[in-house]
């Protein structure tokens, strides 16, 4: 951003679930909840690390930025994901959103490092939403990795007995 551009007056944080939070600039240390303003402060010290001071209580905060304007905020041990938009980028996003096509294949990744105990489907198999694809054992637990869509398995990326890292591709499913 260069100082010559007109000053931005507002920012929007859009949650993953589609909720919109508007903040006026310059950003004040105030958060409005149910029509009331509360003061909020972001701090850092040796003992607690980064935290928020809210109604005389400390809450732990961690930030994972996943993309340019996309933030995953771990607040009080719960993660929330937002994209932060300016009024201009908001308009553009809206325009793009209507034109954008839905992706037709789903890539299933390992949610955690572990060992593949079993592969339950074959390439070419039809699966329904919720059907188990592989069993991944990690940290003393067997986890069924399920398909979140119905479709056809176009690729299996692992075999039984194999160790996987987090985010390794387990399967690819063509959405029906």
């Amino acid at each position: 951003m260069t100082p010559e551009k007109p000053a931005i007056k507002k920012l929007y944080a859009l949650s993953n679930e589609g909720r919109k939070f508007a903040f006026s600039l310059p950003l004040k240390n105030v958060v409005r909840v149910n029509g009331r303003d509360y003061s909020v402060e972001l701090r850092e010290d040796e003992k607690y690390g980064v935290h928020v001071l809210w109604k005389n209580r400390r809450y732990p905060v961690e930030i994972v930025r996943t993309k340019q304007n996309r933030y995953e905020i771990l607040f009080n041990d719960i993660s929330h994901t937002f994209t932060v938009e300016t009024p201009v980028s908001m308009q553009r996003k809206k325009a793009l959103g209507t034109a954008r096509e839905k992706s037709t294949t789903l890539i299933v990744r390992a949610p955690m490092p572990g060992r593949i105990i079993d592969v339950l489907v074959r390439e070419g198999a039809e699966v329904v939403r919720g059907e188990a694809l592989v069993i991944l054992e990690a940290m003393k637990m067997q986890n069924e990795i399920q398909s979140v869509v119905s479709g056809t398995v176009v690729r299996i990326g692992v075999r039984s007995g194999q160790n996987v890292m987090k985010d390794d591709i387990l399967a690819e499913i063509k959405v029906r």
Binding site: R19, F21, M139
Partner: protein, 502 residues
């Protein structure tokens, strides 16, 4: 048997710390094993001696290596071994090898471990002693045809379990005959891969039961008592998350009846040391023997808190050949205790393990609060072991007070560096079914629409934080007020997420 003077701790983490604490109190020396995975682990600082084990290239962890552990015990002049839980705690061969080498195994006899560890054998013993059990196959089931015949006799739904299983792994529920072939093959294959034994057996599946277990203490002179029950129905994927003692579902009469049954099973295998008899309790208050765990349990502290008995001390005394000084009539349950397992897990991702480095750690303390932990700030929760960070045990005069105290303790815990099960427990303490005590083992999977608690303000504050970061990175000319990654180490958890962007 001889006096125990030095114990090899064949375990790690919080249970290693727990055992060493009692050993020190009793004037017994301890030896802990340093491994390549966790060279700076907290448990090492509680030991009198440390054995350095260069296991970086070893095929199996040292805590699973029978001969290696025997060699270490002999070399470090330990005359006893405590296996803790997990690893070799329920391995009859390990107990036998200790005996061969005149090392006292702090636990039951190899024979009792074998009989209770092999589930079909345990079922046969229980049947012989007229212990109430869910209907099922007498021994292992050879193939799917036999499985179908058993299921037709006992009625669907049934559950297929691994004969050598335990810890909630290798189980499949079958609701109709058409599913049997597929489920039988899956269960058998999983059992072979997980336990090196493909044999499975079949039981009637009890719908929506409570998981109630009884703590047993027996000595080598034939005395066996029980220390009341633990309620462990809060589970996900058959893994316990919260335990309490006593159970809100039992009255004195049922407690006496189930306790007497638990003692009878223990007596049937000549049990000594601490042990746990697990039952399922159905909605009509019928109880069924499920299995016996021949070790100290993760959740043993809730029993200690309401009985005032140190179970590790009892294990050590019994292993030394001492007679129990407690009689059944001396056992008094006072107050209420709840334990929450604070694990490195992502509640928002269905309790997926979330290993990482603990950056900051502050645990509550004070009267009525007990913490059993094996980590401190700077420790790592590594993917090769379980995901436990700490056990938070809170007591109260009654259940209501214990819940209030737990709610406060949960708000005082401060953990940074990994996601934890804390949001789940914060939700649970506020949940009506939990407060009423009516929950069953299907509670997490069926009765919850969300796994975590978050107040209405929290998302708004998180949105404000995201916006603040955006303004500091994009709109301000100066440096950001707070740096999130400079001046501190990146956690592996954070780092992995970042790497995936490239």
């Amino acid at each position: 048997m001889k006096k125990i003077t030095r114990i090899l701790i064949a375990n790690r983490g919080e249970i290693a710390v727990r055992i060493m604490r009692t050993a020190r109190k009793m004037g017994i020396e301890t030896v802990a094993v340093r491994t390549a995975v966790e060279p700076d682990a907290m448990y090492l600082s509680h030991a009198d001696f440390i054995h350095e084990e260069d296991d970086e290239l070893a095929e199996i962890p040292v805590f699973l290596d029978v001969e290696k552990l025997i060699a270490i015990a002999l070399k470090t002049k330990c005359n006893a071994v405590h296996p803790g839980y997990g690893f070799l705690a329920e391995n009859a061969y390990f107990a036998e090898r200790c005996r061969d080498n005149k090392i006292t195994f702090i636990g039951p006899s190899p024979d009792a471990i074998y009989k209770m560890g092999n589930k079909p054998v345990a079922r046969q013993i229980a049947m012989k002693h007229k212990i109430p059990m869910a209907m099922g196959s007498t021994g292992s089931v050879a193939n799917e045809d036999e499985a179908v015949r058993h299921a037709a006799r006992i009625g669907y739904p049934v559950i297929i379990k691994a004969a050598s299983g335990g810890g909630g792994r290798g189980m499949r529920i079958v609701r109709m005959e058409s599913e049997m072939e597929k489920m039988f093959i899956l269960a058998s294959r999983e059992a072979e891969k997980a336990f090196n034994d493909p044999s499975v057996f079949i039981e009637k599946y009890i719908e929506n039961p409570k998981h109630i277990e009884f703590q047993i203490l027996g000595d080598t002179h034939g005395n066996i008592i029980h220390l009341g029950e633990r309620e462990c129905s809060i589970q996900r994927k058959h893994q316990k998350l919260l335990e309490e003692a006593p159970s809100p579902a039992l009255d004195e009469e049922l407690r006496a009846q189930m306790g007497e049954t638990a003692v009878r099973i223990a007596r049937a295998v000549g049990y000594y040391s601490a042990g746990t008899v697990e039952f399922l309790l159905d909605s009509d208050r019928n109880f069924y023997f499920m299995e016996m765990n021949t070790r100290i349990q993760v959740e043993h502290p809730v029993t200690e808190m309401i009985t005032g008995i140190d179970l590790i001390e009892q294990q050590i005394r019994i292993a030394s050949g001492e007679e129990l000084t407690l009689r059944q009539k001396d056992v008094k349950l006072a107050g209420w205790a709840i334990e929450c397992r604070i694990n490195a897990e992502d509640v928002q991702a269905g309790f997926a393990p979330a290993p990482g480095k603990i950056e900051k750690l502050s645990l509550p303390e004070g009267p009525g609060v007990r913490i059993d932990t094996g980590v401190r700030a700077g420790s790592s929760i590594v993917a090769s072991y379980d995901s436990m960070i700490a056990k938070l045990i809170v007591t109260g005069r009654d259940r209501h007070e214990a819940i209030i105290n737990m709610k406060q303790a949960l708000d005082k815990i401060w953990i940074k560096g990994t996601k934890t099960t804390l949001p789940f427990f914060r939700m649970l303490m506020r949940h009506q079914a939990f407060q009423a005590g009516t929950f069953t083992t299907s509670f997490i999977e069926k009765d919850l629409d969300r796994y975590h608690f978050s107040s209405e303000y929290e998302e708004t504050i998180a949105a404000w934080i995201a916006t603040k970061l955006f303004t500091e990175e994009n709109l301000s000319s100066g440096k950001p007020g707070i740096s999130f990654d400079q001046g501190r180490e990146l956690t592996p958890w954070l780092l992995r997420k970042r790497l995936t962007q490239f």
